[in-house]
Amino acid sequence: MSKLILNDLGKSFGTVPAVQNVSLTLQEGEFVSLLGPSGCGKTTTLRMIAGFISPTTGSIEMNGAMLSAPNRVVAPEKRGMSMIFQSYAIWPNMTVAQNVAFGLKLRKLPADQLNTRLDRILDVVQLRHLKDRYPAELSGGQQQRVALARAIVIEPEVLLLDEPLSNLDANLREEMRSEIRRLHDAFRITTVYVTHDQSEAMVTSDRIVVMNHGRIEQVDDPVSLYNRPKTRFVAGFIGRTNFLDGTVNGGLIGFPGFTVPAGLAPDADGVNGPVSYSVRPQTIAIHRTAPADRNGGWWVEGRIAERAYLGEYWEYVVRPAEADLRLRVSASPQTVYDTGDAVWLEIDPRRAARVPSEE
């Protein structure tokens, strides 16, 4: 069942468009991330869902009822949602228990039920022993858990998270993003998660919405998004990649400095003219010599221009002969080449993704 529907949503501040043509449908219990660089409109979209901002165009529906439309907006407090803020927004004048119980009190729950649910959620986030502390006495991670508990305990229609991990240090961030997913698996609350961190989005989400310049670039599950990016922006934003811009001509693709068979290239059937591909650094293999049989694979002769050892892998930059092209290649730590070495690169065209050509 469709839980939340964003229909051609748009928001302008003055004449500046912040969000344009955002259409999205969330299923009951789904976890969806809005991912993009700062200023891409993801937070504005989230705040429209929360009801803090009213849309300039389009509408938002929940459970089949209209929540937001230009000039008609249900107030945030009437939406039955909850939200975790970038600053956590834990009220410093209330104890942990008072913070977490706030939403339940507003719902006029009987005291015994309230206490049961309060204790249960505090157990889930492992904060029961701190329930009478004030927020100032808690660590960043504990404050984060208070915010999570406060938002989840009311079992909201939709849970909204606005970059909730950006104030934590790297280790804690990894721990908390798994925790968020674990809580989602336990409670199955429909969730919208805003982040600019691709790994956060990939760890937590069922589907990721990549946004740029106020528009949706692509909506997909993490695997498809990484392996089949549909735009150059998505390919470049999710992980690292190489762009190959070439031209199809009679079964061959001419790239700067080398020509390869078009046979195994995805989405190249019947194309005659410019094509572009995104090729991930770890889908390229490095060899000392060219093979006798190329089997329709793409082989490129070049030299190592730069190299860097990153512990988990070697990062090489290879320049094909006679071309102004730099290909980034990730190789295992055992694959050692020197700067200046002549090498052959093997690209598996089946793992390349066709993206729109540069204008």
């Binding site: 929360a50 009213s54 949602m81 939200m83 927004a89």
Partner: protein, 576 residues
């Protein structure tokens, strides 16, 4: 409990149309209040200055009258000279002390900051009364000591002179410059100086080319504020210039207000003062914003302390000299006079008495009433100013309504209106029928509230800005309305800073003179007005006792505020 049950308790309520927002009513109320307090009085002031009193016809004759007599022009010239020399003296007092406190190893910095705070909260007219006791011709303590030591027939000092007036004002104005300068010095990080050192610049060169240029806009800004304060000051000139038989702009304005009242001439005479003030504040903002702002907002890095060696005792000596003249000696002579049967007889047991206080509080016709008046008016004014400021600041910071920026501009506008001009503006607007408020407590309270509204606004605004809007949004998304968010979260979080803001309005309002002087009636004298009245009677013992009461209460309140807000709360620069 299932999710379905919960959803029932928070129904998705029918959408409300956004054609009418109840907040609009608040906007209209606030706008009306600001028009009443700020816009209308200033408008009436200008209108009055351009009107023939009898016919109401347009005329420029008031301006001709106000500026045709050489006497009146001399007063203006005196004011400009006074402003200039006070500023020069303040620079000499404040800049070295600020530098020494902020950047050197001079000892006793804590005590010095406290004494500067003391100078800052001492009403200047009280300082003048003390200095009349110190440097009155022949009878002043300093003169008597001089004559005793040297055997001279005449005293050395005469407070009743232009030099005396300048010096006296400077003693109580230099804290402004101190605040501006030390605020600037506090944010110029030593790293910026280190950056010059590492490139090969010596200490002198670094100071002249790096440090000084960075704090210069702040110093100039402070100098302009000092100049404006000096020319707008009423109490000190009234106590010193009038007996010395010369006039400045503010005392001249008072004379236009003595019988027969020529308010229209006063208005015409005051308008240029207003224009000068507005223009100079404009210059000051430009200075501080254009060059100084980057340095002033930059994150203050670590600041290194310059070691002065034996010179630190010289610096301390100079600092203590200034502060003795400003605070220590005046407080001592005031206390002595307040506790004496006759102040001229000096310190001896048989001269000691509490009678002056008894006389003031229980025998004098109006003195006790004036004490009560001062505190009640100040409290009422502070409540009005803070309520208004808070509502406006909330609307502005949360962008709840369009055109909120206009409200904040108008709320800050009285900052550039000298108290005496504001008083005449209120007189012009609300003395005539139908309101006929002249002499009532209402007009005094409203005028005080208006005068200190900018202080209230700057502080209320800072208080609201310091609270992340997400704190309120968290309430709302969980199902609480805006009012609940304000009651349960915003109000508790702002309690301390609001009490602080209230005190910052209350403190100057208890001692406000220039506004009260033009608006009080027989039953609405404030302590400050009472002091002026008594100074004419020449009863310095009761005068000192009243001043002592005012000072003591101020110090108690400031002490209270410091414990709430941190010791330096008044010496911080809150507004540009």
């Amino acid at each position: 409990m299932s999710q379905a049950e919960l959803s029932h308790s928070v129904p998705v309520v029918a959408m409300r149309r956004r054609t009418f927002d109840p907040l609009m009513i608040l906007w209209v109320v606030l706008a009306a209040a600001l028009i009443f307090l700020v816009v209308n009085p200033l408008f009436r002031l200008v209108q009055l200055s351009l009107q023939d009193t009898d016919t109401g016809a347009f005329t420029l004759l008031n301006y001709v009258t106000a500026y045709s007599r050489p006497r009146y022009l001399t007063a203006t010239w005196n004011s400009l000279q006074l402003g200039f020399w006070v500023t020069v003296l303040c620079l000499l007092f404040a800049v070295p002390i600020a530098w020494a406190v902020s950047r050197t190893d001079m000892p006793c910095k804590g005590a010095i900051r406290l004494l500067v705070l003391g100078a800052f909260v001492t009403p200047p007219y009280l300082g003048s009364i003390a200095w009349i006791l110190l440097a009155g011709p022949n009878s002043g303590w300093l003169n008597r000591v001089w004559m005793a030591v040297t055997g001279a027939q005449e005293g050395l000092f005469n407070i009743y002179s232009f030099e005396g007036l300048t010096f006296n004002i400077a003693l109580y104005s230099f804290p402004y410059l101190f605040i501006f300068t030390s605020a600037a010095l506090d944010v110029v990080s030593s790293e910026m100086e280190d950056a010059a050192n590492i490139l090969g610049a010596g200490i002198m060169r670094t100071t002249l080319r790096i440090t000084l240029p960075m704090i210069l806009p702040a110093i100039l800004g402070g100098a302009i504020v000092t100049f404006l304060e000096a020319i707008a000051l009423f109490g000190t000139p009234a106590l010193i210039a009038i007996p010395a038989r010369f006039n400045v702009v503010t005392t001249q304005l008072l004379q236009f207000f003595s019988q027969p009242i020529r308010a229209e001439v006063a208005a015409a005479y005051a308008v240029p003062l207003l224009l000068i003030t507005v223009a100079l504040f404009g210059v000051q903002r430009l200075l501080v914003h254009r060059r100084g702002f980057v340095a002033l907002t930059g994150k203050g890095g670590e600041r290194r302390i310059t070691s002065l060696g034996p010179w630190r005792w010289v610096m301390l000596g100079y600092t203590m000299l200034v502060l003795s003249l400003s605070v220590l000696l005046p407080y001592v002579v005031l206390a002595q006079a307040a506790l004496s049967k006759a102040w001229g007889r000096g310190l001896s047991l048989d001269n000691l008495t509490l009678h002056n206080f008894y006389y003031l509080l229980f025998q004098h016709e109006t003195a006790a009433q004036s004490v009560v008046n001062s505190f009640t008016y100040a409290a009422a004014a502070a409540c009005i100013a803070i309520t208004l400021a808070l509502a406006i600041a909330y609307i502005v910071s949360r962008r709840l309504l369009p055109w909120a920026g206009v409200l904040s501009f108008v709320a800050m506008a009285p900052f550039v209106v000298p108290g005496i001009v504001l008083a005449i503006a209120f007189y012009a607007a609300y003395a005539p029928p139908p309101l006929a408020l002249y002499g009532t407590a209402t007009i005094l309270i409203l005028a005080f509230a208006t005068r200190f509204l900018p202080i209230g606004y700057a502080n209320a605004d800072a208080a609201i800005r310091s609270i992340n809007p997400e704190m309120e949004e968290a309430v709302r998304i969980l199902g609480g309305g805006r009012l609940l968010a304000i009651r349960r979260v915003l109000a508790p979080l702002m309690k301390r800073s609001l009490i602080g803001a209230w005190l910052l309005v209350f403190i100057p309002a208890t001692r406000e003179l220039s506004t009260a002087m033009f608006l009080y009636g027989p039953k609405t004298r404030t302590m400050s007005v009472m002091l002026m009245d008594m100074s004419e009677e020449g009863n310095f013992e009761s005068l000192a006792a009243l001043g002592f009461l005012l000072l003591a209460s101020t110090l108690i309140i400031v002490g209270l505020a410091s414990s709430l807000l941190g010791r330096d709360f008044m010496l911080r620069r809150e507004r540009g």
